[in-house]
């Protein structure tokens, strides 16, 4: 039987890769993908615990995570599109309107 820790290690690795991707990449789209990776990583650990504790909360929870992910991607990409239409770039470094 695959011990729980393996799943958790997988989830942690994926999560770290996602974080790494968010921090390094400057392309908005790729950043969104990395966020997706992070979300999936969370799902793994949720379901892994769910399986090992024989409860179903984890699954419901990961279901919710999926909803959120979907909503997030749709709005995020809408923003990226409107930004692209406005500034013809998706490069995060040029979008520093928030500078104080």
């Amino acid at each position: 039987m695959v011990p729980l820790s393996h799943y958790l290690i997988l989830s942690a690795t994926l999560f770290s890769i996602g974080v790494l991707g968010v921090l390094i990449r400057r392309n908005a789209i790729v950043v969104f993908m990395c966020v997706e990776i992070m979300l999936n990583a969370v799902n793994i650990s949720l379901i892994a615990f769910d399986r090992y504790l024989n409860q179903h909360d984890g699954q419901i929870f990961s279901f919710m995570v999926m909803c959120v992910a979907a909503a997030e991607v749709s709005v995020g990409l809408a923003i990226v599109i409107s930004l692209f239409r406005n500034k013809a770039t998706v490069n995060l470094d040029e979008l520093n309107l928030m500078k104080w």
């Binding site: 974080v19 968010v22 921090l23 400057r26 950043v31 995060l92 470094d93 979008l95 520093n96 309107l97 928030m98 500078k99 104080w100």
Partner: protein
């Protein structure tokens, strides 16, 4: 006791005069201004005579009447009422102040006639008389202190009368500040007295003195020393005399009234008034005598080298007051007051005489540009000569009697050093006074051509004559040798009586209470055995007249017989330059006190205040803005930075949560 109620009138008249002149002077025209100005002092003089008559019939032994108008300050057990004390001492001073004051008022009508702000001059002069009378008549230290500072302010106004001239203004400020230094010490003296006695009323303090202050104790010495420093400030003695010569910037009648007759003698009056305290502090008495004698000698030497007619007289005033303090130092208070009175007469006459010369010579004060004015100023010359002889101390004149009495007491009660200083001072006084007379009135007339001197009008010469007469006959007040003929001594006896024996016993008792038994037997013995033999006094008199004549002779020899000799004799001598520049005392004070304070306060302001304290305050503000600048750099606008910060924060939290506290 009814006549005492008139006492408040004496200061009131000059006050009313000054208020009227002060506010309505311009409107009522010069003549009425002079009338208002002169009636004030004259009326006060009359009331003083009435009071004098009243005190004549005073029954001995009973305390002198006091009139207290209202309670001035009362805080806890500190009660001061605004009152006047009419006793022989204050009466003598009142008569001098009002008498000489009225004469000088009349004189200054003529002298100040063509001045524009004529009313302002008389307003200040009357105000001066008011404060001087307060000083003299006050029945406690505080009322005296009002007069004390009031007189200082009026001298500031009057010295700075020609306020366009920078030298006059500086002299005024200098006079006031130096007086203020004296008042600083006087204030400390008053606080000390209140701390010891719990009251500052003259009668109470003098009555309680022997049983409160222990003879030659630290408290007694300190209080009396503080009072004496206050007196030196006001009466221009050694440390604080520099303001008097500069005070000659004021109009001449001002110099006559303030810097000869009245204000400068306030210090002597205060010392005599507190004679009970000073008798208990032999150390201070010694200091007073030394300072007095020193000033007499020191100022006299400077007097020989001055060329401005009024400066010579100013230094002679400083020197003569030195004599008065010498008298107080050896305990001869009556002699001090006697010399004060005679000095008021002849010094006022000298100043007014010099004033009429200056007036006649259209404000020319340098005696090198005068000479041979004998025939141009007949009356002024005669009166000036009479007063000069008086001040030199030649036999029938008043100066002789008062100065000789001081010298006698200096030798008998003091010691040879005091007498030595006194007699050499007398010699130099005779020398420089007659030098002044010879240079101005005799000898070749080097008056520059377009100045044609003329005798002053009647209104100026009449006061001169009166004062010269008083200078001549002043001596009658204190005829020595014959017992009982010393009118002034008998008059002041009840006030100045001081029983040393009981005081010493009381001090011994008090010290015994505190465990250390000392006996003042030997002090008592020394004080009582001074015998009074006639022959010694007569020889002293003859000797002092001889010294005076010698002084006159040397002056005659230097300035009449061989006029070129003085110039040749002293040409390169460094000693002469030293004396001519007044021993560089003014410059010394400037360098050691004035400049450091000015530079110090400038540094204090620029460095300590602006850079230091303000710097600290603004520094705090700068630090906060600096920190906020760093914090704002995180707001870089790049999304990735925010993500990074979030992740770092998250990691930090996780690490912290694992740590076991």
């Amino acid at each position: 006791m009814s006549f005492v109620n008139l006492a408040f009138l004496v200061p009131l008249f000059p006050l009313i005069g000054s208020i009227i002149n002060g506010f309505f002077g311009l409107k009522i025209g010069k003549d009425r201004v002079s009338w208002v100005a002169c009636t004030g002092p004259v009326l006060s003089f009359i009331v003083t005579l009435v009071l004098f008559a009243g005190t004549l019939f005073h029954t001995a032994g009973t305390p002198y009447p006091e009139q207290s108008l209202f309670t001035w300050i009362s805080a806890g057990n500190f009660h001061v009422d605004f009152g006047f004390q009419i006793d022989p001492l204050s009466l003598v001073m009142m008569m001098v102040v009002t008498g000489v004051g009225s004469i000088i008022h009349i004189y200054s009508i003529g002298y100040m006639h063509e001045e524009y702000s004529y009313y302002r001059y008389f307003a200040y002069l009357n105000l001066f008389l008011f404060s001087m009378l307060l000083l003299v008549m006050g029945n406690n230290f505080l009322v005296m202190f009002i007069g004390w500072e009031g007189v200082g302010v009026c001298s500031y106004f009057l010295i700075g009368y020609y306020f366009e001239k920078k030298s006059a203004c500086d002299a005024g400020v200098k006079a006031f500040v130096v007086n203020r230094v004296g008042d600083f010490a006087f204030l400390l003296g008053i606080f000390g007295i209140f701390k010891m006695f719990g009251t500052i009323d003259f009668t109470e303090v003098m009555l309680a003195a022997p049983t409160t202050l222990i003879y030659n104790s630290e408290a007694a010495t300190l209080i009396t020393l503080a009072l004496f420093v206050g007196a030196t400030g006001k009466s221009a003695q050694i440390p604080l005399y520099t303001w008097l010569p500069d005070a000659m910037e004021g109009p001449t009648p001002v110099s006559a009234l303030i810097h000869a007759a009245t204000m400068v003698t306030a210090g002597v009056y205060m010392v005599v008034r507190c004679s009970a305290l000073f008798n208990l502090a032999p150390l201070t008495m010694m200091i007073i005598a030394l300072v007095g004698g020193g000033t007499a000698l020191f100022a006299a030497t400077i007097g020989c080298t001055q060329w401005d007619i009024k400066r010579v007289l100013a230094y002679s005033t400083v020197s003569q007051i030195g004599y008065m303090f010498l008298a107080c130092g050896v305990g001869a208070y009556t002699a001090a007051i006697f010399h004060l009175v005679t000095h008021a007469f002849f010094k006022a006459c000298l100043f007014l005489g010099s004033g009429s010369v200056i007036h006649g010579m259209h404000h020319e004060q340098d005696i090198r540009k005068m000479g041979g004015l004998k025939d141009h100023f007949p009356i002024t010359y005669v009166t000036f000569l009479v007063s000069t002889i008086a001040i030199a101390g030649i036999f029938p004149f008043s100066g002789f009697f008062s100065k000789d009495e001081i010298l006698y007491h200096a030798l008998m009660d003091g010691n040879v050093i005091y007498w030595g200083m006194g007699i050499s001072g007398a010699f130099i006084t005779a020398f420089y006074m007659f030098r002044l007379v010879f240079l101005t009135f005799h000898g070749p007339s080097n008056v520059d051509p377009h100045v044609h001197p003329h005798e002053s009008p009647k209104v100026m010469t009449l006061p001169l004559i009166i004062l010269a007469f008083l200078a001549l006959t002043g001596g009658l007040l204190g005829i020595p040798l014959i017992h009982g003929w010393h009118i002034l001594h008998n008059w002041l006896e009840p006030v100045l009586a001081f029983d040393l024996e009981t005081a010493l016993h009381a001090s011994e008792r008090m010290l015994a209470e505190h465990g250390h038994h000392t006996s003042f037997a030997e002090v008592l013995h020394k004080a009582q055995h001074t015998s009074h033999n006639i022959w010694l006094e007569i020889t002293l008199m003859v000797f002092s007249v001889g010294v005076a004549l010698a002084g006159i002779a040397t002056a005659w020899f230097f300035y009449i017989k061989r006029p070129e000799l003085p110039g040749k004799l002293v040409k390169g001598q460094w000693g002469f330059n030293l004396v001519e520049n007044k021993y560089y005392v003014d410059e010394l004070y400037d360098e050691t006190i004035v400049k450091p304070i000015v530079k110090g306060s400038d540094m204090l302001w620029k460095q300590a205040d602006v850079r230091g304290v303000d710097g600290a305050v603004n520094g705090v503000a700068w630090v906060i803005s600096f920190l906020s600048k760093i914090a704002s750099s995180f707001q870089s606008g790049f999304v990735r930075n925010y993500a990074l910060i979030m992740v770092v924060g998250f990691i930090f939290l996780m690490i912290v949560s694992q740590m076991e506290f």
